[in-house]
Symmetry: C2
Subunit: 212 residues, 2 copies
């Protein structure tokens, strides 16, 4: 059954406030702040959303779906396979750098945010194509796998966090150094195998970052 009109309005205020606050403070922002900003009591928030993950799932997919798709199609549209790959990675890192909420949404998994999780998992599959195309063109070192991509994202995530207040573009330098290591000509044997897909998933899920 439909929500009562006032409830509907509060729900909209809540999601709007969540977008704001997540943008400012990341996905670990206090829920009470979101309620406050929505002009609503904490009880109302919990009344409407089971918990943080439900709120995240109500808000984040709408913020990232279009951008993820844009990054993908842009990459595949690019004539040069290497340029496409690099363009994709850079675009993703730009998203990370532009918004702590996006960074969290892309670096971690929130088990009870089903839509968001589905979106990200799907993205990983699409990216497989981009990587495959680069491999086929001999533009990307052969021992690089899709599961290595999150390593780049994590790296950038930290560089951004450390330097955002001081030199907000420096992550591009760190990423460029890294990308230079991904060309076939740069390749030297790697010391350990890549993450398996389940390992990757577990790593993202257990990444509660700001605590231990």
């Amino acid at each position: 059954m439909a929500l009562r009109r006032d409830a509907q309005r509060n729900l909209e205020r809540l999601t709007a406030a969540a977008v704001e606050v997540f943008h400012e403070r990341g996905l670990d922002a206090p829920l009470e702040e979101i309620a406050r900003r929505a002009g609503v009591s904490p009880g109302t928030l919990y009344n409407r959303f089971a918990g943080r993950d439900a709120l995240i799932d109500a808000v984040m997919p709408g913020l990232i779906a279009a951008r993820l798709e844009a990054a993908r199609t842009e990459a595949l549209a690019c004539a040069d396979a290497w340029e496409g790959f690099v363009g994709y990675v850079v675009r993703m890192c730009e998203l990370q750098a532009s918004d702590p909420a996006l960074d969290d949404a892309m670096s971690r998994r929130f088990p009870d945010a089903a839509e968001l999780t589905a979106l990200c998992d799907a993205q990983l599959d699409f990216v497989r194509e981009i990587v495959a195309r680069a491999h086929a063109a001999g533009a990307l070192r052969a021992d690089f796998t899709v599961e290595d991509l999150p390593l780049l994202m994590w790296s950038t995530s930290m560089v951004v966090r450390a330097t955002a207040g001081v030199a907000p573009q420096v992550w591009r330098r760190a990423l460029a150094l890294l990308l230079d290591g991904l060309r076939p000509a740069a390749a030297h044997p790697l010391p350990v195998p890549p993450l398996t897909e389940p390992q990757l998933h577990e790593a993202m899920t257990s990444l509660a970052l700001r605590s231990r």
Copy 2:
């Protein structure tokens, strides 16, 4: 004047407990846990140490001084300048990966931990030599600077944190990819200039990591 004997004993217990707890939980571990583990009340801890930084400063330099020096001398002793450089970086990252406390101590600055800060600043100067030697030998891309090294450390820090529970060696892979980008042959123009030294210092100081 000397401490009373019981106070001396408590102080030793406190530093020992701090070493343990910092090792397990990083330098943000609750001080109360340290007091508890030392078999002492929180009051006693605060009685002996002005705050977290003082305790860190009492404990960490002893844990890292020797290892930092070993890494340096080992690097300079290495006949091949590139091997020396890589060996140094890998050794440092091994320290990071082996202990959250070392990771914190090397990735951040604790303004009121004077000894620790001095130690790390000195290290950066020594490392300048290693980088210079690699540059002189044409073994390291010319546009790489000492201030770029912390970018590597931050990158590794995050990869370690994400994967420690799942594939504790995978950081070596991420680092290897990165190092492959540091060879002169791999170099392509970098999009932004390196951090300046003051920027670097500020970035480390403001990196309160686990919060925002």
